[in-house]
């Protein structure tokens, strides 16, 4: 089963994302910040990482950099959840090795179609 790591400090967003993905037939691992996500990423082999940018402890940019440094996550798609005001963050995210982004707000259908786009 395709496993997705969903990272967001906002519980409601995380629940929504996780619920949507599970409904789409994916296995979901949830983390509430970058530090937790990194730990979970090491413990579980994930096929895709979906991360918020602004988070306490470790933000999405830093998380992406860290993940790309791990052998298992060199080529794994990493998608960032950003807002329209986050243009700089997009550039920063790309520099850190992010695959792409999903612009907030999104609805469950948009989320799934984007996910399917990178998982082929």
């Amino acid at each position: 089963m395709t496993r997705i790591l969903a990272v967001d400090d906002s519980a409601s967003m995380r629940q929504m994302v996780a619920f949507t993905l599970k409904g789409g037939g994916f296995d979901v691992v949830e983390a509430s910040d970058g530090v937790e996500a990194l730990e979970l990423a090491k413990e579980n082999d994930c096929d895709l990482v979906l991360t918020d940018v602004n988070m306490p402890n470790m933000d999405g940019i830093e998380l992406t950099k860290e993940l790309r440094g791990l052998a298992n996550y060199k080529f794994v798609p990493i998608l960032m959840l950003t807002t329209e005001s986050g243009m700089d963050k997009k550039t920063e995210g790309r520099a850190a090795g992010a695959t792409g982004w999903i612009v907030k707000p999104f609805n469950p259908d948009q989320l799934l179609s984007t996910i399917k786009k990178v998982l082929g």
């Binding site: 400090d9 906002s10 519980a11 409601s12 967003m13 629940q15 929504m16 619920f19 949507t20 409904g23 789409g24 918020d52 602004n54 988070m55 306490p56 790309r68 060199k74 080529f75 794994v76 798609p77 990493i78 959840l81 807002t83 329209e84 005001s85 243009m87 550039t91 790309r94 090795g97 992010a98 695959t99 792409g100 982004w101 612009v103 907030k104 707000p105 999104f106 609805n107 469950p108 259908d109 799934l112 786009k117 990178v118 082929g120």
Partner: protein, 682 residues
């Protein structure tokens, strides 16, 4: 697939209210002259999450409003903008406004957007641009029957997780695709790095009405990391020119993103049609869910584990019961009883929350009101972690607000008056919560003018509460302020209202089974003391042993524990011994004597002395041994037995024995005959 987003609303509201609290306390803490990164980041993140959530869940009013707030915060955070006090005030007002909006939405009421849009305009003025609304730019709808795409990604493209093959699949969904691989830059086998991409491609896509956007969208994520040239192949293009090449510029992508950003929420879950919505909670704060400390849950899970073990043990006994197993059965049943009791308590403890939930909004209130009144006031909060039953907490908020307002308005004088009276210009209000016996005590004290005895008396006579020549003590006079319709404020202000206060405060507190009293000294200040009975209170206790009994001292009352030296102790004729501790004389109360039990030793040199503080006086209690410190659940003695002097309650220890909790002021009272002498000696 359609998902009902309303199932996440409750979580969203809760975390948003928390976020607003975070923003508020952050803003109050923020030093505008020297902005702390951590604080401003925290504020920003809170606003950001609220915006993200509200947009996702379709609360556009909130989303649009938080968007401007977030934009401004982002500039402050990035250091491109400083912030002044007015702006902080504006932020604080917005926090209030958002709270109202969210509460309205949560209760599914009509929300008043006027204030939000007014505040929003102010933010837009500060931001100096009208373009905070993402402008819905017209997007070109250039379509064609065919496109030629030259696609040359940078060699590191794979390392960002972007796989060109997936882009080809997406193009295939648009029309017929013919791909030519260009391998000019392929190095020799030896020089090849397996992680790099050396290919580039020419791709022809043909089909009906293929829009340019649909193609640029495929390459959206990598447009900065690849050379992408689009050439139209067909001739029904809008531009009829010869094949026109155009790189996807960032402008186009910006439009793209902006367009996506404007929340067009018609696809969202239909909120209005939510038939199975629960009956709207009238006041969400009272009926909402509760967040529980993980430790408390762990304790409960542990206890459930114990129960399972006990149950399986009993099950085994029951399967092949013989009479000689009776002892074991009884033992097992006792275990079961104890475990169930502990589990019951743990469950009850879930309802206990730190009082900071209520107190946290007070700094803001004091700040706003002292400005309004032109006073300088500092609020000092103590004992914020004191735990209180959730229901009590919800109901104590209003009386506290009222008392606080009272201190602000009537208690603390204007700076000028204070200077004349020889006091610091800034007045101080202390708000302290602590456990005393089985009660939670909340004290609000100010260093203001104190109650005006003459004025209260005159007013009481005027209102016919007392007769003209009735003799009253100071305390009785002070107590008059809790009579209905009593206000001594010379001018009725918006802050303290019209004197419909103190009697309501007392009534509310009494309805919780508590009491409120006031002590006041003219020119020095007033102290309001609220005492709330609490059968469920959790207490940090020090276990001590006297003879065979184990008593519990409330940890907060203990100053120090020591073993006394003979030369530190003075004998006082006809009274108890007095301990000379540094410069103080502390009367010693032997607990065995007070409670009439048999100790290990009646000699000071073999005992320990626990110095405790009781109502601003120190006493030393003589015990045999100090044991562990632990949290105990207070059981009311009154409801299970009867009130006992010197004992505030009881608890059940881990091994099932009952231990009494000392009421220090009560113990002192029991031993008072000695203390009178000791007072003279000291």
């Amino acid at each position: 697939m359609s998902i009902d987003l309303s199932q996440f609303h409750q979580v969203f509201f809760e975390e948003s209210f928390e976020g607003l609290d975070t923003m508020e306390s952050g803003l109050l803490e923020l030093d505008i002259a020297d902005i702390d990164d951590e604080i401003i980041n925290t504020i920003f993140r809170a606003a950001h999450s609220i915006k993200g959530g509200s947009a996702t869940f379709g609360f556009n009013v909130v989303a649009e409003f938080t968007h401007v707030i977030e934009t401004l915060l982002d500039e402050v955070r990035a250091g491109t903008r400083s912030i002044n006090q007015e702006e902080v005030d504006l932020f604080l007002q917005s926090v209030d406004c958002l709270r109202d909006l969210l509460q309205g939405l949560q209760n599914k009421e009509e929300v008043d957007e006027a204030q939000a849009s007014e505040l929003r305009t102010q933010f837009e003025i500060i931001l100096g641009s009208e373009s905070v609304d993402a402008v819905d730019q017209k997007t070109s709808s250039e379509t064609n029957t065919g496109w030629l795409i030259k696609f040359k990604p940078e060699s590191h493209i794979l390392r960002t997780g972007n796989e060109p093959l997936r882009m080809f699949w997406q193009l295939e969904a648009l029309g017929k695709v013919r791909i030519t691989s260009i391998t000019d830059e392929m190095p020799s086998f030896a020089g090849m790095n397996v992680e790099l991409c050396y290919f580039s491609w020419e791709i022809e896509v043909t089909g009906d009405n293929i829009s340019k956007e649909s193609i640029t969208e495929v390459f959206e994520w990598i447009e900065d990391e690849a050379e992408i040239v689009l050439t139209s192949l067909g001739n029904d293009s809008i531009e009829q020119d010869s094949p026109k090449s155009e790189a996807i510029d960032t402008e186009a992508s910006k439009q793209e993103t902006l367009k996506a950003a404007v929340p067009k929420i018609e696809t969202q879950a239909p909120i209005k049609e939510d038939k199975k919505a629960k009956p709207a909670a009238r006041n969400a704060k009272e009926f909402g869910s509760i967040r529980v400390d993980i430790d408390k849950i762990d304790t409960m899970i542990n206890m459930v584990g114990e129960l399972v073990i006990t149950q399986s043990m009993l099950g085994q006994i029951g399967e092949e019961f013989t009479f000689d197993k009776l002892g074991k059965l009884q033992e097992g049943l006792q275990d079961l009883e104890r475990n169930v009791a502990i589990l019951h308590e743990s469950v009850m403890r879930i309802r206990m929350l730190p009082i900071s939930f209520t107190l946290s909004r007070f700094p803001r209130m004091v700040r706003d009101m002292s400005r309004q009144l032109d006073k300088k006031i500092e609020l000092v909060l103590k004992g914020e972690n004191t735990e209180l039953d959730k229901t009590v907490m919800e109901k104590i908020g209003d009386p506290l607000v009222h008392l606080l307002r009272n201190s602000l308005d009537h208690g603390i004088e204007l700076p000028e008056l204070r200077r004349k009276a020889g006091k610091p210009e800034t007045g101080t209000i202390n708000l302290e919560a602590f456990h005393q016996g089985g009660n939670v005590v909340i004290e609000i004290s100010d260093d203001g003018a104190g109650l005006n005895k003459e004025k209260i008396r005159a007013k009481a006579i005027e209102n016919g509460v007392i007769s003209e020549n009735e003799a009253l003590t100071q305390d009785q006079i002070n107590d008059l302020i809790f009579q209905p319709g009593f206000s001594t404020a010379e001018v009725v202000t918006d802050v303290s209202g019209r004197g419909v206060g103190m009697d309501v405060v007392r009534r509310n507190i009494q309805s919780l089974g508590g009491t409120v009293s006031v002590k006041s000294e003219p020119g020095v200040g007033s102290t309001f003391t609220i005492t709330l009975p609490l059968t469920l209170a959790i207490l940090d206790g020090q276990l001590v042993r006297v003879g065979k009994e184990i008593y519990i001292f409330p940890l907060v009352s203990i100053v120090e524990s020591l073993s006394a030296d003979a030369n530190q102790v003075n004998k006082v004729v006809g009274a108890n011994d007095v301990l000379k501790l540094r410069d103080e004389f502390i009367p010693i109360i032997p607990l065995y004597e007070t409670f009439g039990i048999e100790p290990d030793s009646r000699h000071l040199k073999d005992s320990l002395i626990v110095v405790v503080e009781s109502e601003k006086m120190k006493v030393g209690l003589m015990v045999d041994e100090l044991l562990a410190q632990q949290q105990v659940v207070i059981k009311s003695l009154e409801s299970n037995y009867q009130s006992v002097g010197g004992i505030s309650g009881a608890t059940i220890l881990g091994d099932g024995t009952i231990s009494l909790i000392l009421d220090i002021p009560g113990v002192v009272k029991l031993a008072e005959k000695y203390l009178n002498y000791a007072g003279v000696a000291a």
